[in-house]
Every structure is written in C-alpha cells, then in structure tokens.
C-alpha cells in the first residue's frame, strides 16, 4: 500500500533519476555529450597543491566528521572521498607530502584504500606510510579538531582541504590554518557552516558545488554528463516554483497540493 504523502517523493525521485541516468546513457553512447564548465574549485585545489610542492611543505585533507552511514551527510562524505582520490593523485604527482586526518572510524579503511590506490596509480606506492599518511584522530568533533589543528601547526602545512560534513569545528580548523599561512579550499553541504567557511577559506565550494566537483573528477570524461542531469533537475524545480507562485497569486494551490500528495 502506498504511504500517504510519499507519492510526490516517489515521482520527483523517479523523474530526476530518469533524467540523470538517460543523460548519462546518451553521453556514454556519444549521442549527446554535454559540455560542462570546469569548476573553479578544482583549479583552486590544483594550485594549492602546486604551491605546497614548491614550498616543500605538506598538504592536509579532512573528509569530514560524519560517517558513511549518516542519514543526512552520507553523500557529502562520499563526495569528499572522491575528491580525496584526486588530491592524493595530484599530490603524489607533484611530490608534496599528504596527511589525511580522519574522524570517523568507518571512513578510515576507505580513506586508507583511496590514498593507497592513488599513490600506486601514480607509481609511488612507497610514499604511503601506514598510520602516518592517513591518521585517525577521534570520532568526537572536538577531539578531532584539536588534533587536526595540532597536526597543522607541527607539520606547517601549506595547503589545507576541508571537504565533507564539518560541524562547528570547521571554523576552528580554517582560522588556525590561515594563521599558519595555508591556502585553503573547503566544501560542505552543512548550510550552517558554509558562511563561516566561505569567509575564512580562500576558495569555498558551496553546497552542491561539492557534488558537481566530485562528478567532474570522474576519470571517464563522458560520465561528467550526469552533471547536466543535475542542471535539468534544477531547471524543473525553478519551473515548479515560478508556476506555483503565479498560481498561488491567483488563488490556486494546485502545485503545492500536488507536492503534498
């Protein structure tokens, strides 16, 4: 039996998924390959790693303080791990030392694998030091942030990346990193921390920018097509809002009633 009030969810999810998957199919068959603009955040990441390599100082990365199974930020953590793969590859290629600080134990094995694989891929498996390249701190946000800050000071990091979900500790980490003089690129979907990161970091991926950046980093260029699906879904939302507002002005609650079904 269909649960009341969930029909709209089902329809929206189905339509959006169908759009995204069909665009993906079209682009993988080379029938229609959308042109996606390179995200400025990705260039910012590259520049920061390059500068760290020039200065001979390490790069630090945090994939967030939430778990893989978080009911709100799972995708955020996943995107952070995809971006970690890129950062690991770039820093191995450019020859700067990478330190990954981990808060959640469930993220630890994945992050270790990601970095190990990336280093092997770049032909530098010896650069990966067990328990040293990927460091576990504490599942508690304050335990984690104090350790991360301490690490940044002691290692004198030149670039710091904060992706994934960060709660109130984000500001602590980013402002301390700026004291050290590190270039920072951050991204989160936690809307309460976004303003703080936007002000304190050199470059900030706002909300879905992070997801788009993760998709953009797929090794196979045609698969970036899914980002266009994301755009189309957004355009549908805009259409719904505009039509809905016009209808409401004339006294009809049609759209909002449909969405409440």
């Amino acid at each position: 039996m269909l649960i009341a009030g969930r029909l709209s969810w089902l329809v929206v999810t189905l339509i959006f998924s169908a759009i995204m998957l069909s665009i993906l199919y079209l682009s993988s068959k080379k029938i229609y390959v959308p042109v996606i603009r390179e995200h400025p955040g990705i260039a910012a990441i590259k520049d920061a790693i390059g500068r760290a390599a020039e200065m001979g100082r390490p790069v630090s990365y945090s994939p967030g303080t939430d778990t893989l199974y978080s009911t709100k930020y799972a995708a955020d953590t996943a995107a952070a791990l995809t971006i970690l793969a890129y950062v690991a590859k770039e820093s191995a290629r450019m020859g700067s030392k990478l330190i990954v600080g981990i808060s959640q134990p469930t993220v630890l094995p994945v992050a270790e694998d990601v970095v190990r694989t990336a280093f092997t891929f770049e032909g530098k498996p010896e650069e990966y030091v067990e328990e040293e390249t990927v460091q576990f701190y504490s599942p508690d946000q304050w335990g984690f942030s104090s350790s991360y800050i301490g690490m940044m000071y002691r290692e004198k990091v030149a670039a710091n990346f904060l992706f994934g979900e960060h709660a109130a500790e984000a500001m602590l980490i980013s402002e301390n990193a700026s004291t050290i003089g590190a270039i920072q690129v951050a991204g989160t979907t936690n809307v309460y921390q976004l303003p703080l990161l936007l002000v304190t970091c050199d470059y900030c991926l706002i909300g879905e920018d992070e997801f788009a950046a993760a998709a953009y980093l797929s090794p196979d260029p045609v698969q970036k097509g899914i980002i266009f699906g994301q755009d189309l879904a957004k355009l549908i939302c805009i259409a719904l809002i505009v039509i809905g507002s016009i209808l409401v002005t004339f006294g009809s609650n049609l759209i909002s009633n449909l969405l409440k079904m």
Partner: protein, 210 residues
C-alpha cells in the same frame, strides 16, 4: 573467490538501496522489518569499526614513543587517558557510574566547551582579516554581516533605533532566499552522487580501484 566478493559489493549496494527506497513509500511489514534490521546492523558494524580506529591511533603513538620523538610525553599522556577511560568504563560497566561521570565531566566536558566557545574568537579575527571589500561581492557580504550585528546586539538599538530595523530588513530578505536555493541544490546533488555510487560509476567511496 575475490570476484564473488567484488560482484557481491555492487549487489549489496544496489539491493540495500532499493529496499530502503521501496520502504519509504510502500507500506509492507516485511520490507519495514528488513529496513529496520539493516539500519540496526549498520550501527553495530560501525561499533566494530572503532576497533580499526583505536588500533591505528595506538600504533601511531606507540611508534612515536618508541622513536623517543619530540611528541613522546604527549603520546604517553594520550595513551594513559585513553586506557583510563576504557578501563573505568569496562570495570564499572556503565557510562553513568559516578567514577565514569567524574572523569567525563572533568576532562571531556570543559575541553569541548572551551574549543566550541573558541570559535567566537576566530569569528573576531576572521572579521578583521577576511571581511574586506575586495570586490563588490565581498562588499555585499560584509554589509549584510554589519546589518545583522546591528540587529542582534541591543546596544545598536540604543545608539540609533534605525540600525536594528535596517538589520531586520536584510534579515527578512536574505535569510531564506539564498539558503532555500542552496538546500534545493543540495537535495538534487545528493541524488546525483547517490545514483553514481549505487549504479557503480564512482568507486572511490568504497575504497577506489581494484
């Protein structure tokens, strides 16, 4: 053997996701029961994962102590505190026993509160360092911040009653506009990322290549 597990991983990812999707809109006791079970299991698996973390942390600090590095005394302090907590917890067999509450309240509570509160100091330095009118965009950002300060602190209303009402206007117009759009975007982005992982296009969140 390995191929079974590798295929199994993708199957688990897809099937479990489908169970949760169907459970959301379709009322069925078996489905609901399965979803609840899976959800409960995940918490147990995560509890096991902590062993990995604690192991990694212990190994790193034991290495530091072995090498007699600069951080040796601190690593000793870390391990001692960690084992004090573990032993107290396991011996008293409760996290609400007086002994456990004592160490919890005298170490974790004040240190966490101190760190949390410290962010107000960082807001101060960030306001000085980063809220600068380098472009029109940052000018808008800075002006909005200023007006909200006028709104929130009673003293500005005393200086000039217009200041808080200006703040109120900025507040009313800005606060839900931008956030609403960001939230919609995040919802759609989550779907994109989720789909990419569930259909097996993005393998990094599982640990990368084979």
């Amino acid at each position: 053997m390995s191929i079974v597990f590798k295929k199994g991983t993708s199957v688990v990812l897809f099937v479990v996701a489908m169970i949760f999707f169907f459970d959301y809109f379709w009322k069925d006791p078996t489905l609901q029961g399965t979803a609840t079970n899976l959800n409960n299991w995940v918490v147990v698996i995560a509890a096991f994962a902590l062993g990995l973390g604690a192991y990694s942390l212990t190994v790193r600090h034991v290495q530091i102590i072995r090498k007699r590095g600069m951080l040796m005394p601190y690593s000793i302090a870390l391990l001692v505190t960690m084992f004090t907590f573990i032993i107290t917890g396991l011996v008293t067999h409760s996290i609400s026993s007086p002994e456990y509450s004592f160490i919890y309240n005298s170490i974790i509570v004040p240190a966490s509160q101190a760190l949390y509160g410290m962010s107000s100091f960082f807001i101060a330095s960030a306001s000085y360092r980063a809220l600068r009118a380098k472009s029109y965009e940052s000018l808008v950002c800075l002006a909005a911040a200023m007006f909200i300060l006028f709104l929130n602190a009673p003293i500005f209303g005393v200086i000039n009653p217009i200041l808080p009402s200006l703040g109120k206007i900025v507040w009313d117009t800005s606060i839900s506009t931008g956030m609403r759009a960001i939230l919609i975007g995040i919802g759609i982005g989550t779907l994109t990322t989720g789909l990419r992982i569930i259909i097996g296009q993005d393998k990094a969140p599982l640990g990368g290549g084979d």
